[in-house]
């Protein structure tokens, strides 16, 4: 997917563990792990809001758009 979650980088910058974050925002570690490993299909505004609140960041700090292979190949064709 072209949108990637930079949760691992933000957690590293703020020296917060996934377990701590899960406790603070009330989401299971399993679900946070899905988010962190970019396996999620979508993210709720409520989840994004909780992440931004606890990590003291903006949605743009957590989300990153990258050109994926499909888009790149379509452009070159």
């Amino acid at each position: 997917m072209a949108i990637r979650i930079r949760l691992d980088q933000v957690l590293l910058d703020r020296r917060i563990t996934l377990t701590d974050l899960a406790d603070r925002i009330g989401i299971t570690i399993a679900n946070l792990s899905v988010l962190k490993t970019n396996k999620a299909r979508a993210i709720r505004f409520s989840t994004l809001e909780a992440l931004c609140r606890e990590l003291d960041c903006q949605p743009g700090d957590l989300l990153q758009w990258t050109r994926d292979e499909v888009a790149t190949s379509a452009e070159t064709a």
Binding site: I27, K39, A40, R41, A42, I43, R44
Partner: protein, 220 residues
């Protein structure tokens, strides 16, 4: 009574389907084994389907359609003042001693096929209701199971109609009875075919439901 979960209609149906599956399996194995050893066995699957009894005196029972010749058998109701009532579209089973020839083999194969198909469909239903009992209806396997059941229902009805037609035709060309005449007409139960088509649509609904459930589970 709730539809899904433990102590629900689904779990009750699971018990019934399990019993039906074992019954069919035992009937299938017994029919094959006893036929192979030549013992006497009579297996009746459906009043509208053929049945075969093997052993020393082989008898066949085939479904037939017939009509009554009005001149020979008059139907009257004197108390109602009716003297020209008619019996029509009669159905029954013609039982006769047969040799272990092609007709016997064909009917026996139909019987075994019937049982095998029933066993397979019941197994699909068991898998389906197991997921309902466990409260996880939207799994990819269920859409596939429903699609298989739908095609089996349609196939079963088409096969049933064809078998009855050919059995009736056989009776019509080889047997005669005073005052009665055998008919050979296609008797397709359109409602059964429509039921199959409805199940096909429900299968698609389940496929879409599975996709949505999958998406929901990956929305954090």
């Amino acid at each position: 009574m709730k539809g899904m979960g433990r102590a629900s209609i689904s779990s009750l149906l699971m018990v019934l389907l399990n019993a039906a599956w074992y019954l069919c399996a035992v009937a299938l194995v017994a029919a094959l084994a006893l036929t192979l050893v030549g013992a006497a066995v009579g297996v009746h699957i459906d009043v509208t389907g053929p049945s075969v009894e093997t052993g020393r005196n082989v008898t066949l029972s085939i479904p037939v359609s017939l009509h009554v010749e009005g001149d020979t058998h008059r139907v009257t109701a004197p108390s109602l003042g009716i003297d020209d009532a008619q019996l029509h579209e009669l159905r029954g089973a013609l039982k006769f001693p047969a040799h272990k020839g092609p007709l016997f083999v064909a009917n026996f194969l139909i019987l075994v096929g019937w049982l095998a198909l029933a066993l397979w469909v019941i197994n699909q239903l068991r898998g389906f209701f197991r997921t309902l009992r466990d409260r996880r209806p939207f799994v990819p396997a269920n859409a596939l199971r429903l699609r298989r059941i739908a095609w089996a229902v349609i196939f079963f009805e088409l096969a049933r109609a064809a078998i009855i037609f050919f059995e009736s035709y056989y009776a019509m060309t080889h047997f005669s009875v005073a005052g009665l005449a055998f008919d050979a007409r296609p008797e397709l139960n359109v409602f059964a075919v429509v039921n199959g088509l409805i199940i096909l649509v429900i299968a698609e609904v389940f496929r879409e439901g599975t996709r949505l459930a999958d998406e929901q589970s990956l929305t954090i």
